[in-house]
């Protein structure tokens, strides 16, 4: 069930929220659990078993870890829990990629599993791992209530695209929580903005990318290649951040507070800054549970190098079981490292705009891996982006696409910058009565208008 579908917006959500608010405090978790299961079962009911299996094994391992605390057994139990989680993740998410790679490398013909990837697999397994690791490290308390743990792991708002909510971030609100009026109001506003990002902006930018992606890669011009990849990057950003905004908004309505997942990544003036602003919850998870344990406290040298590349590869693979995603992660990790070792020193002496341009070239070139279907296609696209393709610098197709889609791409770029939020913050903090009045008016009308337009657009399509 997608957030931008009629089934979710007009059937599931109203019924669920009414039930959730009507029942007394302790029953809310029951409704939340039931609602989450319905949401999850909509796509493939079989995978509920998988979700409950992960929740149950990690809950039980957590109990045992706590009981064996300060003994060597705790480490074994943690290892056991992680092996189960990773095995499920690899089998259901990445087995076919592994089989395809083996078949290519060794010329074998092993059959693929053909299993569809369970919705939210990479989210709920990472969340559950955050609990057992956190518990082992003593960073979070033992969850004694099985039902509360089930509620944590099955929470539906983040299932589609994150953010990955670590157990420690929700721990205090799982059993009992107070729902503030202000929180619900902000949550609904955030939800509307997220919906508009997905339904109105991401979809039209996806249309732009589609026009480029169907062309023969060898024949596209430099202009078309750049226009296409910028549209692709922006549509990816608006899709992911739109889903994240909707998840954050819903979490507020339910009395939780999810962490932010995007913070204007396309305004970044360095790859490091971009990495800190893009899918923040995933970066934090990888940093905390992969990168930091690998490098230890005294990081440096070759270990740092390896940890960074492993992190990059994992981040890439998180987006899907494809070799091109993996390479996208490694590409970003390489430039992250390059910036840390050399470029960072040069960057300090360069004007901000130049740093921004260089960063965007690296980022969008990296996104070519993300967008490409094969390495040949990626290479052809790189050549076109460098002006070395057969299409030259700008062909008729480029000028035509510019005439067709430029306003949307420009709008996409402008809205991806922090100008609007900066302006809104200034107005909100202003002492002028007029500014405050305008802010209050816009704060109420814009989300409502965006909701109406998005709903009509979704209904019409």
């Amino acid at each position: 069930m997608a957030f931008d579908s009629i089934v979710f917006l007009l059937r599931f959500l109203p019924i669920f929220l009414i039930c959730y608010y009507v029942v007394p405090g302790r029953m809310k978790n029951f409704i939340l659990f039931l609602g989450s299961l319905c949401f999850y079962a909509w796509g493939n009911p079989f995978y509920i078993v998988l979700l409950l299996f992960i929740a149950t094994t990690d809950y039980l391992q957590g109990l045992l870890i706590e009981r064996c605390r300060k003994r060597r057994t705790a480490g074994i139990l943690l290892g056991n829990a992680l092996v189960i989680d990773i095995a499920v993740l690899l089998f259901f998410g990445y087995a076919d990629l592994g089989i395809a790679t083996i078949n290519t490398l060794f010329g074998t013909a092993l059959p693929k599993t053909g299993l569809p990837i369970p919705m939210g697999l990479t989210i709920f397994t990472l969340q559950s791992m955050s609990y057992v690791i956190g518990l082992y490290r003593g960073e979070v308390k033992l969850q004694k209530n099985y039902f509360d743990y089930l509620v944590y792991l099955t929470l539906f708002p983040q299932m589609l695209g994150g953010p990955i909510v670590q157990y420690g971030e929700l721990e205090g609100r799982l059993h009992d929580r107070r729902i503030e009026l202000h929180q619900v109001s902000r949550g609904l506003q955030r939800f509307c903005i997220g919906l508009a990002k997905k339904a109105l902006l991401a979809d039209i930018l996806a249309e732009t990318w589609k026009c480029v992606s169907v062309l023969d890669i060898g024949g596209i011009s430099l202009g078309t290649a750049w226009l296409g990849i910028v549209a692709f990057g922006l549509q990816l950003y608006y899709s992911l951040s739109g889903f994240a905004d909707m998840a954050i908004g819903l979490s507020m309505c339910l009395g939780f507070e999810y962490p932010e997942n995007f913070s204007h990544p396309f305004a970044a003036a360095s790859v490091t800054e971009f990495a800190n602003c893009w899918n923040i919850s995933l970066m934090n998870w990888i940093r905390k549970f992969v990168h930091a344990p690998m490098t230890g406290e005294k990081c440096g040298g070759i270990l740092q190098f390896i940890a960074l590349f492993v992190s990059g590869a994992l981040i890439g693979l998180w987006y899907g079981p494809d070799l091109t995603f993996l390479l996208c992660g490694i590409w970003m990790a390489f430039f992250y490292m390059f910036e840390k070792l050399f470029w960072g020193k040069v960057q300090k002496h360069l004007p901000g705009i130049l740093n921004w341009i260089v960063t965007m070239i690296v980022v969008f070139a990296g996104l070519v891996f993300f967008a490409g279907n094969s390495l040949n296609e990626v290479w052809g696209y790189f050549l076109a982006m460098a002006g070395l393709g057969q299409g030259g610098l700008a062909d008729r197709r480029f000028w035509y696409l510019m005439a067709e889609y430029l306003p949307y791409v420009v709008l996409g770029v402008l809205l991806a910058m922090p100008y609007l939020s900066t302006m809104a913050n200034k107005m909100r903090q202003s002492k002028s009565v007029l500014f405050i009045a305008v802010y209050r008016l816009l704060e109420k009308t814009i989300p409502a208008i965006l909701l109406i337009v998005s709903l009509v657009k979704i209904a019409a399509s």
């Binding site: 109001s185 000028w399 035509y400 889609y405 409502a448 657009k457 209904a459």
Partner: protein, 349 residues
């Protein structure tokens, strides 16, 4: 407004919008309509109006494409025939097919440019359409000049006239008449009189394939025929089983694409007994562009066999070898995109 009231107001408005839409969805699906409807039905959300509004806004912002169509100047619609859709391989194969037809079957080649070639200047700026002129010149320069009837030049000469319908990608009756004149001149055929100035209007509510594009304000076309083609005692055999009198199919005016008033579109072969005492017969390998031209060709032949390539799935060469007798002329009569589209089905050694 206090902060609390402010929050209450926001929640009320957003929840209210969702509930109104949810209620409308519910009513559309399960109530009032009697049967299960579909959310977004016009009566509830006026979907068409919304789509039209969005389309108009996008048109204002410079969007000149809708689905597989270009929106040209003055709102004229063009079917898209993009350069990228016709590979070098297809073009070479098509040249082979045309060459074989011309050399082995002495066929006349009439390849009709579509509207985006004749009215190129009306296309959106930089639209990367397939260059039909270059393609026809290529055919001309590779030894097919003697067989090729230059329809493009004659249509270009008359480009100010209504050569294609506004609501359909096909050419009009008058365009096919000009093409016929070019064919007659090229083949030194006898002249027959067709009164251009007093054609007969069949309908003024012609809504062709583009009528499905509801976002556009397309005015209906008028459909004309030449009087001389109406009353001739011709017998048409569709797939050798259905016998009809005359070229025209009034049922298509009421139901279906009115363009198929000319001969219809529900056959693979149409055999037309013209009722004329002539020595020769004609075998036409054609697509729907041929439909409205056949009445002009009829006076020159005793019988015309029209192989409709839009529905034909067999082996063309076997069919030609079996069907063509010694007294037969052969004519390839297709639109340029139509000819290239069916090349994949025509294998040559």
């Amino acid at each position: 407004m206090s902060d609390k009231n402010n929050d209450r107001f926001t929640i009320g408005v957003i929840a209210g919008i969702i509930l109104i839409f949810a209620l409308a969805d519910f009513v559309a699906r399960f109530g009032l309509t009697g049967s299960e409807g579909k959310f977004g039905d016009e009566k509830f959300f006026r979907q068409a109006r919304y789509e039209k509004m969005v389309f108009d806004i996008r048109l204002m912002l410079g969007k000149r494409e809708t689905g597989d169509y270009f929106i040209g100047k003055n709102g004229r619609v063009f079917e898209q025939h993009l350069a990228k859709d016709y590979s070098q391989e297809t073009i070479l194969e098509s040249m082979g097919v045309a060459g074989k037809l011309a050399k082995e079957y002495s066929a006349s080649l009439m390849l009709i440019p579509s509207a985006d070639e004749i009215w190129k200047e009306d296309l959106p700026k930089y639209a990367d359409v397939f260059d039909q002129n270059a393609y026809l010149e290529l055919l001309q320069n590779t030894g097919l000049g003697d067989s090729l009837v230059d329809v493009r030049s004659v249509l270009k000469e008359h480009a100010v006239e209504k050569l294609y319908y506004d609501t359909d990608p096909h050419w009009t009756n008058i365009a096919s008449y000009y093409a016929y004149l070019a064919w007659r001149e090229k083949n030194a055929k006898q002249q027959y009189y067709f009164d251009v100035d007093h054609r007969m209007m069949v309908t003024k509510r012609f809504q062709g394939a583009y009528a499905a594009l509801k976002n556009l304000d397309l005015k209906a076309d008028a459909l004309y025929i030449f009087k001389e083609t109406y009353q001739k005692p011709v017998t048409v055999w569709l797939d050798e089983s259905v016998e009809r009198q005359g070229y025209y199919r009034p049922e298509y005016i009421i139901d279906g694409n009115p363009y198929y008033y000319f001969l219809g579109n529900d056959f693979v072969t149409a055999r037309i007994e013209t009722g004329r005492d002539r020595d020769k017969t004609l075998f036409v390998i054609g697509d729907s562009y041929a439909n409205c031209m056949i009445p002009f060709l009829a006076p020159h032949y005793r019988e015309i066999t029209f192989l409709n390539m839009e529905n034909f799935q067999g082996d063309l060469w076997e069919t030609l070898d079996a069907e063509i007798c010694e007294d037969a002329d052969v004519l390839l009569l297709q639109s340029v995109p139509g000819f290239l589209d069916c090349i994949g089905r025509l294998e040559i050694e």
